[in-house]
């Protein structure tokens, strides 16, 4: 390794490559374009017949430099970037980022109650949505095609709920620093209540389809076992750890956003195989439904933005037939009535505001485990550093521990049970 003024340089011929250990084994690339690798994950597998001897994950194919990009945008624009990382749990990224900036600003106690309940409700709906995609794709990969159709069918209902309120199905940028960008759409609570009622029966349906299904059991039970000690040393969090009896959940251990007021359990299993991970995720969907139900019950009235015109997002947005737009009253107010309101609008939208210098680390419980945001400010109008501890990135390190020594066909079940989202891994 040589060092230049741009830092150490890796010389290509010094890089390690996977070399077969004997003439009996061979190296096979699985991915990056493989239907079962959940995006663009590449596994270099050394095979001895049908048995995996060595597994080396290769990542980075979806690296888009989001952490770097946030350093060139103002604080509010950061939300639109981070929501694009883990595309199956966008609200969690928005939540952790907004919470971090709110803590830097010292306004975390001034976020309206209504905004917090909606945040929690949307996060839990996202958790169900994410687990549904996991269930559907895992089913598809293991040959259970009907569950794939059912999973995506219910996911569509959740996306409809999001679309009714935010106008978008993904990449919402709905959580903003200081609250939300706009209130719930008219009739959104009815949509959600209907969904909760329907979803309970649907989860029973999935269980009837899979839990006692001999093929499903054959493909998942005892497959992908990793000891709890290994998982702990590899820093694994989320359903993967909870399926091994490690009852860690940021929502319980370090409650944020009022989670301590909700009544819910942290489901665990002890078998630590693919079947246990399936059971944990199914149980988590039920718990999330419980939380959503409680959110609907306690949803208070009032504003959804902080009461500080220098910090809150200006405008009175709502979703119309042609997308998101400002209300005519607000446009009239800034264009015809108040010069100060117009100046404030442009100042906040174009320049943003300065955030006091400091650093915070904010963990939240995403569908895949501990999602942490380490945000550093130098006192300027842009983030100095936004570092994301993505759970998929850390959890993916367990794949070699799962598949080495197992059959190559089980590799598919193992990757699926980790539930990596490459958008989050590569960022």
């Amino acid at each position: 390794m040589k060092t230049s003024d741009r830092g150490p340089t890796v010389v290509r011929d010094q890089m390690t490559t996977l070399v077969p250990r004997s003439e009996e084994t061979m190296i096979i690339n699985m991915g990056p374009q493989h239907p079962s690798t959940h995006g663009v994950l590449r596994l270099m597998l050394e095979l001895d017949g049908e048995t995996v001897v060595t597994c080396r994950p290769v990542i980075g194919y979806l690296h888009t430099g989001i952490e770097k990009n946030t350093e060139y945008r103002n604080w509010q624009q950061g939300v639109t970037y981070v929501t694009r990382m883990d595309y199956l749990s966008p609200f969690f990224n928005e939540l952790a980022y907004c919470m971090s900036v709110e803590r830097l600003l010292g306004i975390e106690d001034r976020i309206p109650e209504r905004a917090w309940v909606i945040r929690v409700m949307f996060c839990e709906l996202t958790r169900i949505q994410s687990h549904l995609v996991w269930l559907a794709t895992t089913g598809l990969e293991l040959g259970a095609v009907s569950i794939a159709l059912y999973g995506f069918r219910e996911r569509e209902d959740i996306l409809d709920i999001f679309e009714a309120t935010t106008g978008l199905r993904m990449n919402f940028a709905y959580f903003r620093i200081g609250g939300l960008v706009m209130d719930l759409a008219e009739g959104a609570t009815d949509l959600i209540a209907d969904f909760v009622e329907k979803m309970r029966g649907r989860i029973d349906e999935y269980e009837r389809l899979l839990t006692g299904n001999p093929i499903w059991i054959e493909r998942t039970q005892g497959v992908g076992y990793v000891s709890p000690e290994t998982l702990l040393s590899l820093g694994t969090t989320g359903p993967l750890a909870r399926a091994a009896g490690i009852a860690a959940d940021v929502r319980k251990d370090e409650p944020y956003g009022g989670y301590e007021q909700f009544d819910f359990d942290v489901p665990t299993q002890t078998a630590s195989d693919c079947f246990a991970r399936y059971q944990v995720r199914i149980a988590e969907m039920r718990e999330s439904l419980r939380i959503v139900e409680q959110c609907l019950e306690k949803l208070p009235g009032g504003p959804v933005k902080i009461d500080d015109p220098k910090l809150r997002w200006p405008g009175e947005l709502s979703v119309g037939p042609d997308g998101i737009g400002n209300s005519p009253e607000y446009v009239k107010h800034i264009m015809e009535e108040s010069m100060e309101a117009l100046i404030n609008h442009f100042k906040i939208v174009t320049q943003g505001y300065q955030v006091p210098a400091g650093e915070v680390y904010t963990p939240v419980e995403s569908p895949r485990g501990e999602l942490g945001y380490y945000v550093v400010s130098d006192g300027g109008a842009r983030p100095y550093r936004v570092r994301v501890r993505d759970p998929s990135f850390v959890n993916l390190q367990t794949v070699p521990a799962m598949v080495e020594g197992q059959l190559v066909a089980d590799t598919v079940a193992c990757i699926a049970s980790v539930d990596p989202v490459m958008g989050g891994v590569d960022r």
């Binding site: 741009r6 830092g7 150490p8 890796v10 702990l232 570092r387 990135f393 850390v394």
Partner: protein, 167 residues
């Protein structure tokens, strides 16, 4: 142990412990990093047994230039601590903690890839996100956003953000 008791307890070990926004930050010398982390992990009252994150920040105008941060968490007591190691621009090298926390493997590779900080004793220090033959370390502040060639049309270059007409 509540936050205050933890801070008092840690003050014995780190006299310069900073408490800000409910978070504890301690600065350690790179030579003491591994032993400190091991002591923090083995102490029953502290039990920092989970390394959440390894990351870094780059301050080109300051000395030390790089700060590597380790976010420790106790799964048993549910408390957190941030350890920071300052590194000079000339010698950005820090001992690897993969021996204590195997989870740091990829995270240290990522810091190496994006900041060019080397981790002494890491078993397999290679780039992880950027292509293997990439030049430079993108998250350094002196590495411009943009300013790279395009893959299939070599004569087209994306200008850095600061050189575009609308930044």
């Amino acid at each position: 142990m509540d936050a205050e008791a933890l801070a008092t307890r840690l003050k014995d070990r780190f006299p310069d412990l900073v408490v800000a926004r409910g978070e504890l930050t301690a600065v350690v010398d790179r030579l003491d990093l591994v032993s400190t982390m091991e002591a923090l992990r083995e102490d029953d009252d502290l039990a920092f047994d989970h390394l959440s994150d390894v990351s870094s920040t780059d301050w080109p105008e300051r000395e030390p230039r790089f700060w590597v941060s380790y976010h420790l968490y106790s799964k048993r007591h549910h408390h957190r601590l941030r350890l920071k190691v300052g590194l000079s621009a000339e010698d950005p090298d820090v001992p690897s903690v993969t021996g204590l926390f195997p989870s740091a493997d990829w995270q240290e590779r990522e810091v190496f890839d994006l900041f060019g900080i080397t981790f002494d004793g890491h078993p397999d220090l290679r780039r992880i996100l950027m292509p293997e033959d990439w030049e430079g370390h993108p998250l350094r502040k002196d590495y411009a956003l943009g300013g790279v060639g395009t893959a299939y049309k070599p004569d087209i270059r994306v200008p850095p953000v600061d050189e575009r007409s609308t930044p």
